[in-house]
């Protein structure tokens, strides 16, 4: 019987000739004809490496896409200063654009204005919940940041009878909670 899932990946045969980007991706094949909406849809396929159910667009970290002197410029903002996924996300965005035939897209990092969980889209929030991560609740007001009681609902059973286990979870953007009713621990996407 064939096992699904944990199959080791076949090791690709060594290449006879080195592949360079231009061999694989013909320059500007259709890439420049993409409309802005199509570009946003394209980046909506790039998932967050830490939470692979939401896209970088849904997380709100892609701030702008624009053509400047025949070069596509994408501005990306990190969620946290030390987010270890920042570089990987930037590479994946560039790779997705190149695969769509856009030559030499430029991905720049912008810090200002600072990312806020308010920028996570509604679909992103719903996907987080379905994935077992409680989405940020309310808006990132100072009141929330200063720790005034937050009512976090369990993403598994919906109960609001939950307690904080730790202010920090498996990544900087999350806190650790536990549901008192269904007893499941869960991550809460912190509101910043």
């Amino acid at each position: 019987m064939q096992k699904s899932g944990n199959q080791p990946r076949p090791i690709p045969a060594p290449l006879e000739q080195p592949i360079i980007a231009s061999d694989r991706v013909p320059a500007n094949v259709g890439g420049e004809q993409l409309t802005e909406t199509q570009l946003w849809q394209l980046l909506d396929e790039v998932k967050d490496p830490e939470v692979p159910v939401v896209s970088v667009v849904e997380l709100g970290i892609v701030r702008s896409i624009q053509w400047l002197d025949n070069q596509l410029q994408v501005a990306v903002t990190p969620t946290y200063s030390g987010c270890p996924a920042t570089e990987l996300i930037e590479q994946q965005i560039a790779a997705a654009l190149m695969q769509a035939g856009i030559r030499d897209p430029q991905v720049t990092r912008v810090l200002n204005p600072a990312w806020t969980t308010d920028w996570i889209s509604d679909s992103g929030r719903e996907k987080l919940r379905a994935y077992g991560i409680a989405p940020p609740q309310g808006s990132a007001s100072k009141m929330t940041l200063l720790g005034h009681a937050e009512q976090i609902s369990c993403p598994h059973c919906g109960s609001s009878h939950t307690e904080q286990v730790s202010e920090f979870g498996s990544t900087a953007c999350k806190a650790l909670y536990r549901c008192i009713d269904c007893l499941e621990p869960f991550d809460y996407f912190k509101c910043i």
Partner: protein
């Protein structure tokens, strides 16, 4: 005769101070990886460390640009010697017991929070942007370390006693955070560094209120204070931190594949 530094030089110097303090404290916290008292604490400490290292990199990037691009952030972090580091003496102090770890964190977080709050309004877009990003993270750090001061200070007899000792032993390193030298005074007039008096008043106010709530004694206001970190005169601990932190980069300079 001392020459007045240009504003860019002063800013570069100040950015190194901000970056070095964040980096060294981040490195100190990482020493607790695998050794924290509880798994939740370990995650929290590593997350705080990660934030600090990320912030340090943002400041180093800008400092490197102001310097003219001869060195990058990695070179600033990994190729300078102890006397070139500009971090606060407080952050290089050893982790000690958890009371020391958290008291050090609290004193630093309180200073960091009010410093960033001032820098958010800096007339320099880069400084303001990095500060705004960092402030969100540091608000969490401060909230958490304040809670630990109260929990340990107002906890058991032993935790109270240990926290008293921690506060007393670290207190002498808090003075230099709140006194501005020529570089900081120069920048403060341009809005690129906090006003020292305001910073000291805010810091003291918060520390007093948290220590009081934590039932801890307030150290005397006129206590003797150790200076030197901002000008590169460090305690004996920094060299050991750098030896560990910089080993790889020094042994294999510019290595790209490990």
């Amino acid at each position: 005769m001392t020459q007045q530094p240009s504003q860019d030089q002063a800013l570069q110097e100040y950015l190194l101070r901000l970056a070095d303090s964040a980096l060294i404290l981040g490195q100190r916290l990482c020493e607790l990886c695998g050794k924290a008292p509880a798994v939740e604490e370990e995650m929290a400490l590593m997350n705080v460390a990660l934030d600090l290292v990320g912030q340090a990199r943002n400041w180093y990037d800008y400092a490197a640009e102001l310097e003219g691009g001869q060195r990058d952030a990695d070179a600033l972090a990994y190729r300078r010697d102890a006397h070139e580091f500009r971090n606060l003496l407080l952050v290089e102090q050893p982790n000690g017991d958890y009371a020391v770890t958290m008291a050090r964190q609290f004193f630093y977080d309180a200073w960091h929070y009010f410093t960033l709050q001032a820098l958010v309004n800096a007339p320099d877009e880069r400084v303001a942007g990095i500060a705004a990003k960092a402030l969100k993270e540091v608000t969490y750090h401060l909230r958490r370390s304040s809670e630990w001061m109260k929990r340990l200070g107002d906890g058991t007899e032993e935790s109270h006693q240990r926290m008293e000792v921690a506060v007393e032993s670290l207190w002498r390193f808090t003075g230099e955070m709140l006194t501005a030298d020529a570089v900081e005074q120069h920048l403060a007039t341009a809005g690129l560094a906090p006003d020292a008096e305001q910073l000291a008043a805010d810091w003291q106010g918060l520390v007093n209120s948290v220590l009081t709530e934590a039932t801890l004694s307030l150290p005397p206001a006129d206590a003797w204070m150790q200076q030197g970190g901002k000008t590169g005169r460090h305690t004996e601990h920094l060299g050991f931190i750098l030896a560990e932190m910089q080993f790889l980069q020094r042994a294999y300079p510019d290595a790209k594949i490990w």
